[in-house]
């Protein structure tokens, strides 16, 4: 366990070292996710990120196009409000350290396609191209609606001690999918609210117990004088594996603080309502994130995966609290001075 945390620490340190030589202005990163990597705040922005809670690496790209002259009405502009994007994530179900080391691990890959529409209820531009501002403070409000369709492929090694010895270790192929509809609004560049509904085929691999052992195969020499022993390390999960269809309603609220100092910070509160059991399960959390002068951002979040104790069987609330760490950084520019 100590080795795992040491490797994690080394990885995070190397990420900081990788980008620390670039002293850049603060930039904002889309990192507002829960421990499962789920968020209703979909930032239409390219990034490369790591979520240590669910041991995933993620790459995302969004296509968008700024406004242009309206070919039909030359006095007006045509607001190009549609956008699309792709998101590819790889995860090591056995922990983040396995993602960066040799040995047997059980990788999973997911990919998503996004289709979206900006300025649904709050146009950023009027027809002549002037900014649309709101309130006495003359702040901008922008909103966007995103449809996400994705799939997931993962192979898990499972261990069941109740089965006959020869069948105790076996593989399980998981084929999941996700359809999500999310609406986001950003008020004055500082407050964002997101709501979403998604339906997904998921599994309970995060609830199973990781086990690790060595398996030996003994091959005797026909002459009986020599014995050859082959050994391999097996990482597996113990427990009752199952997959299920889950409906999730998500609500996220973010407040971004930009003091005069070099470091900005943000608070993120979120709630989830999951329908995958006989009773609905509530998940809630609170995150705190820092945005220093670099291309990297990170933070911690605490969450309860079963707020009202419907499925966990642990009456004590403090034992149903988890803590996570997330670190992400933006893709470096290609031949262009970064801001």
């Amino acid at each position: 366990m100590k080795k795992k945390y040491f490797l994690l620490y080394l990885f995070i340190l190397s990420l900081f070292n990788l980008v620390s030589h670039e002293s850049k202005a603060q930039t904002f990163k889309p990192i507002f996710e829960d421990g499962e990597g789920r968020s209703s705040i979909i930032a239409p922005l390219g990034f490369l990120g790591v979520n240590t809670e669910n041991s995933s690496i993620r790459f995302q790209y969004f296509y968008s196009r700024s406004a242009e002259l309206n070919p039909k009405i030359p006095a007006e502009i045509k607001r190009n409000r549609f956008y699309w994007g792709v998101d590819v994530a790889g995860s090591a179900a056995g922990g983040l350290s396995n993602l960066f080391s040799y040995g047997s691990f059980t990788p999973g890959t997911s990919a998503s396609l996004f289709l979206g529409h900006r300025s649904l209820f709050f146009p950023a531009l009027d027809k002549q191209g002037a900014p649309v501002l709101h309130g006495k403070n003359e702040a901008a409000i922008e909103d966007w609606l995103t449809l996400r369709v994705g799939g997931q492929v993962a192979n898990y090694t499972l261990y069941d001690e109740n089965l006959p010895f020869a069948n105790q270790i076996f593989s399980e192929k998981f084929r999941g999918y996700l359809t999500q509809l999310a609406y986001n609004v950003l008020i004055g560049g500082a407050t964002s609210i997101g709501v979403s509904w998604d339906v997904a085929r998921e599994n309970n691999i995060d609830d199973l117990t990781p086990v690790q052992f060595r398996q030996q195969t003994v091959v005797p020499d026909p002459s009986g004088q020599t014995t050859r022993i082959f050994e391999r390390e097996v990482n597996a999960y113990a427990g009752g594996y199952e997959s299920f269809i889950q409906n999730t309603f998500s609500l996220d609220a973010v407040r971004y603080f930009t003091p005069a100092s070099d470091i900005n910070y943000a608070l993120h509160a979120y709630g989830r309502l999951k329908h995958d059991h006989a009773q609905p399960v509530y998940r809630a959390g609170l995150g705190f994130y820092l945005f220093p002068q670099s291309k990297i951002a990170g933070g911690v979040f605490v969450e309860s995966g079963d707020l009202t104790n419907k499925i966990s069987g642990t009456p004590q609330f403090s034992k149903r609290i988890d803590m996570g760490l997330t670190v992400k950084f933006i893709l470096p520019g290609l031949g262009v001075p970064s801001p």
């Binding site: 202005a25 603060q26 930039t27 904002f28 990163k29 239409p44 922005l45 390219g46 790209y61 969004f62 296509y63 968008s64 196009r65 700024s66 406004a67 242009e68 002259l69 502009i77 607001r79 190009n80 900006r118 950023a124 531009l125 191209g129 900014p131 501002l133 403070n137 003359e138 702040a139 901008a140 409000i141 922008e142 950003l186 008020i187 004055g188 560049g189 500082a190 964002s192 971004y256 930009t258 900005n264 933006i330 893709l331 470096p332 520019g333 290609l334 262009v336 001075p337 970064s338 801001p339």
Partner: protein, 97 residues
């Protein structure tokens, strides 16, 4: 009559570029893989100074940086920069070259 030039534009930002204008004309820039909006025009008429207008929206303190090449010559050796406040940044200016 205005002389025409080859113009290349690179606007680097994590924000959303809503509108970009050159010489008063709205010109659509497309975001590429590294969050840079790019465009190249082979024959663009410029009359005197090169007027530009940038309007971005997004999270506060997000910056944008504009780099323009005219006939392959960098006319913005120091990139033009802006920062988002109150959810937007709308900046107009002119470049001598």
């Amino acid at each position: 009559m205005a002389k025409t030039y080859k113009v290349q534009v690179e606007l680097s930002t994590d924000a959303t570029l809503q509108l970009f204008k050159l010489e008063g004309y709205p010109i659509a820039l497309t975001r590429t893989l590294d969050n840079v909006y790019r465009l190249a025009i082979s024959e663009f008429p410029i009359d005197g100074e090169l007027d530009y207008y940038v309007h971005c929206t997004g999270w506060n303190k997000t910056t944008w940086s504009l780099k323009i090449l005219v006939d392959d010559k960098d006319v913005t050796p120091e990139p033009i920069k802006g920062v988002i406040e109150k959810g937007y940044s709308a900046v107009r200016g002119a470049i001598k070259f």
